[in-house]
Amino acid sequence: MADLMVPQEASEQRRITYREAVAEGIAREMRRDPAVVCLGEDIGEAGGVFKTTAGLFKEFGPGRVWDTPISEQAIVGAAMGAAMTGMRPVAEIMFSDFLACCWDYLANEIPKVRYMTGGQVTVPLVVRTANGGGLGFGAQHSQATENWAFTVPGLKIAAPSTPADVIGMMAAAIRSDDPVVFFEHKGLFASKGPPAPPDHVVELGQAAVVREGADITLVALASMVPLALTAAERLAREGIDAEVVDLRCLVPLDVGTVLASLEKTSRLTIVEENPYQGGWGATLVSVVADEGFGLLDAPVRRVAGECVPLPFADALEERVIPTVDKVVTAVRDLAAY
């Protein structure tokens, strides 16, 4: 999907892909900490169906990178047991849609065990998964499912949009003593960006202002960030100066950066790939209504997916998920309010 491409730059040499960043981010932590181990389907010699674990098996061998059967419950359940007993497992669930197959672990087991044991047990694990649409995979391989996790207290949720953030947030996720669901966006795997410096760590819960602007705040996540940036460039040509905030994490949620941006712009549009109903944007809007109402000079808008399963054809998919056009239209209306 053309909308998901990050703007191209002249020099390609010092840039890495988002997909390479995933493997690089994991490798850095595996080199640093022998307790980090990977498990998942096809992640070993095959390097993962998205090639996001390419090179790990060669460097670390079968004792650190474990191929599993197609057993999502066993993968995440075993990761939990290992995390409770001294390891830092990184489990891959191939497509985020398949989180439903091990949903018990995400909803009932992993996030609750610390709490319901009165703090006795720590679960330092990462569940990585390829999220979102844009590649024409149809309704069962294209969903943006971060909201499933967002409804469950006890999970941290990362969703980076650039290769450098993938590496920095992977470091933070793997080092976290809390469970992290790490959403890698399928539509971004081929995108490129500057490499991450050595020891790059992006603490979870820190949004980034990726474009400064004075007229309106656009808050986006993962693949919606490059889309919002493209929309912002178009809007700039019309004289509307949009600030773009890359939320980067849903839990912890960096409300402060959003409110600080609204102090400047007083207008808010949220861009979410997931369906409008139950989307994380609704929570953010409610926090802004609670705590930042006085900052607003206009209603807030959410540009989100339609409430339908993701259709297959490009033309149909574009109809139901946010596009640059939809964002531009929403912002234009709001700027004129």
Binding site: V37, G63, W66, T68, P69, S71, Q73, A74, V76, G77, A78, A79, M80, G81, A82, A83, M84, T85, G86, M87, P89, D104, Y105, N108, E109, P111, V113, R114, Y115, M116, T117, G118, G119, Q120, V121, T122, P124, P153, G154, S176, D177, D178, G205, Q206, V251, P252, L253, D254, V255, G256, V287
Partner: protein, 329 residues
């Protein structure tokens, strides 16, 4: 049958079973008198499985249990006082009153939790065994579960993964013939719900009299030895019966009277007493063990009753490893 257990050792196991039996009775009574909220799933009748297995395990082994897990927590070293305090929602409870009856956990004793979603903990035990392998220890992981769990997908995923990775994990099924109110035989394709499935994963599936603490101990010892030696997982199906209903005040009227009678005559404590007699342990020593158990549980009930309620502020702690619960920065 000849066994290796001495009279002294068996008396210790008997004493533990006696404490569990009385703790369950106390939990039942406290529930009926309104001092235990929610629900309880009592394990009276299952004592020999928890005590026999624990006697065969090392202190650094891992145990995972179900919502019917009081006996495992107690056998693994939780005190009746901290368990009953947990059930009675006291600040001194095993899980600071955040867990309740279905989640008794004593991590410091290798009792890594009681899980109320049927079958969910089997893959966790596989993960703990995997972790032992990764860390180069010869620790063992044991998952205790009911017969009903054998028809859950996680059971099959766990057995397969444990088998292909040859992990030191034991799957111990407490087959008490019933799920909640339905007989396992009515909804299961094979007669031995756990043991019959094990060969499909290339691992041994044994059946043991789960009411005989000595036989349970010996079976777990044997299977643990081979698992530690690198020969992989095993399934042990322990036949037993629950004395109370499934939960709370379920009178269990769905069970035929002669079946109940037959099983109550096959009581784990009676069986152990018979063995103690054969081993020449004097009756007074057994009576003394019973009296000690009665006193321990009586004191535990009193202490738990006297303990304070938790500070409501505790509700907002311990979601995260830093002790807090903040979802925003």
């Amino acid at each position: 049958m000849a066994t290796t257990v001495t009279g002294e050792e068996l008396l210790t196991l008997y004493g533990q079973m006696a404490v569990i039996r009385r703790t369950e009775k106390a939990a039942h009574d406290l529930f009926l008198s309104g001092l235990v909220k929610g629900t309880t799933h009592l394990a009276a009748g299952h004592e020999a499985i928890a005590v026999g297995a624990s006697a065969a395990l090392r202190d650094d082994d891992y145990v995972f249990a179900t919502y019917r897990g009081h006996h495992h927590a107690l056998a693994r070293g939780a005190t009746p006082e901290e368990c009953l305090a947990e059930l009675m929602s006291r600040a001194t409870g095993l899980c600071k009153a955040k867990g309740g009856s279905m989640h008794l956990t004593k991590a410091s004793a290798g009792m890594l939790g009681s899980y109320a979603i049927v079958g969910a903990h089997l893959p966790m035990a596989v993960g703990a065994a995997w972790s032992a392998r990764l860390r180069g220890t010869d620790q063992l992981a044991v998952a205790f579960f009911g017969d009903g769990a054998t028809n859950i997908g996680a059971f099959h995923e766990a057995l397969n993964l444990a088998a292909v990775w040859r992990l030191p994990v034991l799957f111990v099924c407490e087959n008490n013939l019933y799920m909640e109110y339905t007989a396992i035989a009515d909804v299961t394709a094979v007669p031995r719900p756990a043991a019959d499935r094990a060969p499909a994963y290339g691992i041994p599936g044994e059946v043991v009299d789960g009411n005989d603490v000595v036989l349970v101990q010996e079976a777990v010892q044997r299977l643990a030895r081979r698992a530690r030696a690198g020969d992989g997982p095993a399934v042990l199906e322990a036949e037993t019966y629950r004395h109370y209903g499934h939960s709370r005040a379920d009178p269990a009227t769905y069970r035929p009277a002669e079946e109940v009678e037959r099983w109550l005559k096959h009581d784990p404590l009676d069986l152990a007493r018979g063995r103690l007699h054969v081993l020449g342990v004097p009756a007074e020593a057994v009576t003394a063990a019973d009296e000690r158990a009665t006193e321990v549980v009586r004191a535990a009930v009193e202490a738990a009753k006297a303990a304070p309620a938790p500070d409501p502020a505790e509700a907002l702690t311990e979601v995260w490893a830093d002790g807090g619960a903040a979802w925003r920065t």
